[in-house]
C-alpha cells in the first residue's frame, strides 16, 4: 500500500505524505504541548488528589469499622461478665434462702418441741402437786376422821397428840402394808 501510494505520489507529482509540511509540524507541536501541560498541570494532579482522598476515606472507614468492632466486642464482654455476675448473685441468694429456710424450719421445730416439753413438764408438776396436796389433806382428814371415829368407838379421847399421831401413823402403815400385801 505504501509502495503504491509513493509511486502514485511521484508519478502524478502529488505531495508526498511522508514529507511533513511546516504548518503541520507547528500545529502538531502546539497541540501536543498544550495537551501535555493540560494533563501534567491540571488533570493528573486532580486525579492524584482524588485517589489520595479515596484511599484516605477507605482507610478511615476501615479504621472506623475496626473501632466499632472493638467497641462491640468490649460491650459484649462486659454484658457477659455482668450476666455471669448476676447469675452467681442469684445462685448465692437462692442458696442463702435455702439455708435460711432450713435454719428457720429447724428453729421452729426445736421451739415447738421445747414448748411441748415445757407444757408437759408443767402439767406433770401440777399433777404431782395436786396429788401431793390431795394426799396430805386426805391423810390429815382420814387421820382426824379415824381418830374421831375411834374415840367414839373406844370412848376415850385421844387428846394426847403425840400418841394419836403415832397411832395414826401405825394404822396407816399397817393399812399400806396390808394394801401392798393385798396387791401381791
Amino acid at each position: 500500500m505504501l509502495q503504491t501510494i509513493l509511486v502514485a505520489a511521484t508519478e502524478e507529482a502529488q505531495p508526498n505524505p511522508l514529507l511533513p509540511e511546516p504548518y503541520d509540524i507547528i500545529w502538531s507541536l502546539v497541540c501536543f504541548v498544550v495537551i501535555l501541560f493540560f494533563f501534567w498541570r491540571l488533570v493528573l494532579p486532580r486525579m492524584k488528589k482524588l485517589l489520595d482522598e479515596r484511599s484516605a476515606a477507605i482507610e478511615g472507614n476501615m479504621e472506623k469499622a475496626d473501632e466499632a468492632q472493638r467497641e462491640a466486642e468490649a460491650a459484649l464482654e462486659q454484658y457477659t461478665a455482668q450476666l455471669a455476675e448476676a447469675r452467681a448473685e442469684a445462685g448465692k441468694i437462692r442458696e442463702q434462702a435455702r439455708v435460711d429456710a432450713q435454719r428457720i424450719g429447724a428453729e421452729i421445730q426445736a421451739q415447738a418441741q421445747s414448748d411441748a416439753e415445757r407444757v408437759k413438764a408443767n402439767a406433770q408438776v401440777a399433777i404431782e402437786a395436786d396429788r401431793q396436796s390431795a394426799l396430805v389433806s386426805l391423810r390429815t382428814e382420814v387421820g382426824s376422821l379415824a381418830i374421831d371415829l375411834a374415840s367414839g368407838v373406844i370412848g376415850e379421847s385421844l387428846s394426847d397428840d403425840k400418841k394419836a399421831t403415832a397411832l395414826v401413823d401405825r394404822f396407816l402403815a399397817d393399812l399400806e402394808a396390808s394394801d401392798t400385801a393385798g396387791k401381791k
Partner: protein, 263 residues
Amino acid sequence: MATSDDGGFHGPSIEEFFPEAIFFAGTPFEINRIILIRFLAMLAIILIFWIGTRRMKVVPGRFQSVVEMGLDFARVNIAEDLLGKKDGRRFLPLITTIFFVVLFANLTGIIPFLNISSNAIIGMPLVLAVVAWLAFMYAGLKKHPGAFFKNALFPPGVPWPLYIIVTPIEFVSTFILRPITLTLRLLMNMLVGHLLLVLFFSATQFFLFTATQTSIFYGLFGVGTLAFGFVFTLFEVLVAVLQAYVFALLTTVYIQLALADEH
C-alpha cells in the same frame, strides 16, 4: 468527495490529505480542514477532561467514572504496569498525553462530517515519535549517565568481535528505527484507513447513483461496498483505540528499556 461531476469513477487520492488552506495560506501557520479537525480533537480532550475532573467526588458519578476509567487505563495498565509506581508517576503526564492525543485524533476519522483523522498527516505522528525518542534518551541518560550509550550499543555478554555486527544494528534499531516505526505505524494506519473508507463509500455512491443508470444490477455492488464500508468503519474504531494503546505502550517500553539496569 472522490466522484467528479462527469459521472466517471475516481478513486481517492493523496490530495485528500492536503486540502486547501482556510487561514494563513502560504505561511508556516497555515490552517486547513485537517488542522481544524486536529484542533477540534484537542478541544474535545480539554473539555472532557476539564469537566470530568472539575468537581471530583470520592464516590464518582457516571461521567467521572468514565473519565477515571480512561485515566486509570493509561496510569495502571500502561505506566505503572511497565515502569512501576515510582517511574510510572514520573512519566505519567507524557504517557497519558500521548495516549489521549493519538486516541482522540484517530477517532475523528470515523466521526461523520469530520471523516478524517489528523494523524493521517505526518505532523502529529512525527512530533509524538520525536517526543518518545527524547523521553527514552532522557530517561536513559538520567539513570545511567555514563553507561547508557555503552549498554545500548555494546550489549554486555557479547564476545567483542560480534560488536562489529551488533553495534551498527543496535544503533540503527534503537536510535533511528524506533521513531520511524512509531511514526509510520500510526500514520499509515490512519492514512490507509481513511483511503479504504473513502474508496468504499465513493464506490457505493458511484454504483448506487451513477452506474444504475446503465444497469440496475450495479446497485447490488453498491450494497456490497456499503456493507464493507460499514464493517470497516467499525474496524477503524478498533484501529483507533489499538493504535493509541500501541503508541503509548511502545513509548513506555522504550523508556523501560532505557531505565533497565542492563539491556
